[in-house]
Amino acid sequence: MLLPKFKFHEPKTEQEACQILSEYGDKARPIAGGTDLVVNMKKKLMSPEHVVSLSRIASLKSLQKENGFVKIGACFTVADMIEAKDIKENVNALSAGAAALGSPLVRNLATIGGNLGSARPAADLPPSLMAYGATLILKSRNGKRNVTIDDFFKSPGTTECRPGEFIAEIQVQTPPAGAGAGYLNLGARKAQDCNIVNVASFICLNKSGVIETARVILGCVGPIHLRAPAAEKILMGGKPDKALFKKAAEAARTDCLPITDFRGTGEYKRAMVGVLTQRTLEIALDEAKKNN
């Protein structure tokens, strides 16, 4: 299987990357781990004239915890995300998403920026990042801008990232005391497959133990990852227990529009949305109690 021809660029700095990407505009495509782009190019689904590697830019590989944020460079690998203490201790549902992605071989190459930039509706990292309310830092020759992850995905494979722009960093606010989150994915195999359904839930309890904030994210059941507004509405202001989570899970099933395909029927996926919503809420509650 041959790759289409392209010109290859390996900028050493972010500034150089901005220049090259702005020069070639929509004829250029950034590459990091290549685990999505190289596959799509081999399948001839994509054929950029210029491929711009971001892998040699040291500043994009950093991980920092500062000012109440975990800041993850776009080229930070998924394998390193599983190992990173700052991620595990502060935003554990993101570690869970990282551990569920692909195989160990893929995780050693794949990056957080790549997983977001590819914008697959079944991707493993977006649900947790949406649950935590993450922000993406996009950079271009014109400077940088912050985009909340809820506004980032447009349709399968398309995002808010414009030609000439690249994802530089992902910032996740460290959840406050009383907050917890959970992520679960369902696939036909334990590794190396596309999810059938994936869900992340986030709750934050106030001092009297009532849910103050709730976010439930559903993957694989729409063109992009979806917030579950009906489920969130039921959770907010409620006392977290099995009965409430069950009600929220039922509501989440009405918050999505799964298609029937070879991975499962729409009906099955809808049922699994309910199961995973309930279970991720239970994980989130356990964590919230520990964080109090």
Binding site: M1, L2, L3, P4, K5, F6, K7, F8, E10, I31, G33, G34, T35, V38, V39, K42, K43, V51, S53, S55, A79, G102, S103, P104, L105, V106, N108, L109, K190, A191, Q192
Partner: protein
């Protein structure tokens, strides 16, 4: 247009002319004739092209050769030393972890990477570490037993 690059493979430096659209896998097999690295699905699903890059096992079919410049690459050919086969290789022979052999290079490299980090893994940890390497012959049991035997040998 082709460009001359230097690749460090099994502690040797190779100067090789590559085009941007050549993968590390193709350069290893067709230009350097290191055919121990196998070409299976070519899409990062099967793991038969596994090489160790900077101490981490990766799918060489997804790495552009130019991206591998400056990296320390180990292929199956680099495991044997003057003392003989690597303990993982030996265990695969002794415990019949090899049937048709196509997945074997990748299995051994993934297993070696695991044992380098964790010399005494549980069965579950072994299965997880090998989950990117597919075998269509053995049903995996003999492979798991081979890695367990290698782990015992290494921990001696």
């Amino acid at each position: 247009m082709k460009e001359l690059i230097n690749l460090t493979i099994n502690d040797q430096t190779y100067e090789v002319a590559v085009a941007p659209n050549q993968t590390l896998l193709d350069v290893l097999r067709y230009q350097l004739e290191l055919t121990g690295t196998k070409k299976g699905c070519e899409l990062g699903d099967c793991g038969s092209c596994t090489v160790i890059m900077d101490d981490k096992p990766v799918n060489s079919c997804l790495v552009l050769a130019m991206q591998a410049v400056g990296k320390d690459i180990k292929t199956i050919e680099g495991l044997e030393t003057e003392q003989g086969l690597h303990p993982v290789q030996k265990a695969f022979v002794e415990k019949q972890g090899v049937q048709c052999g196509f997945c074997t290079s990748g299995m051994i490299l993934s297993a070696k990477s695991l044992l380098d980090k964790n010399a005494g893994p549980t069965e579950q940890e072994i299965r997880k570490a090998l989950s990117g390497n597919l075998c269509r012959c053995t049903g995996y049991q003999k492979i798991i037993e081979s890695v367990q035997a290698a782990s015992k040998e290494i921990s001696k």
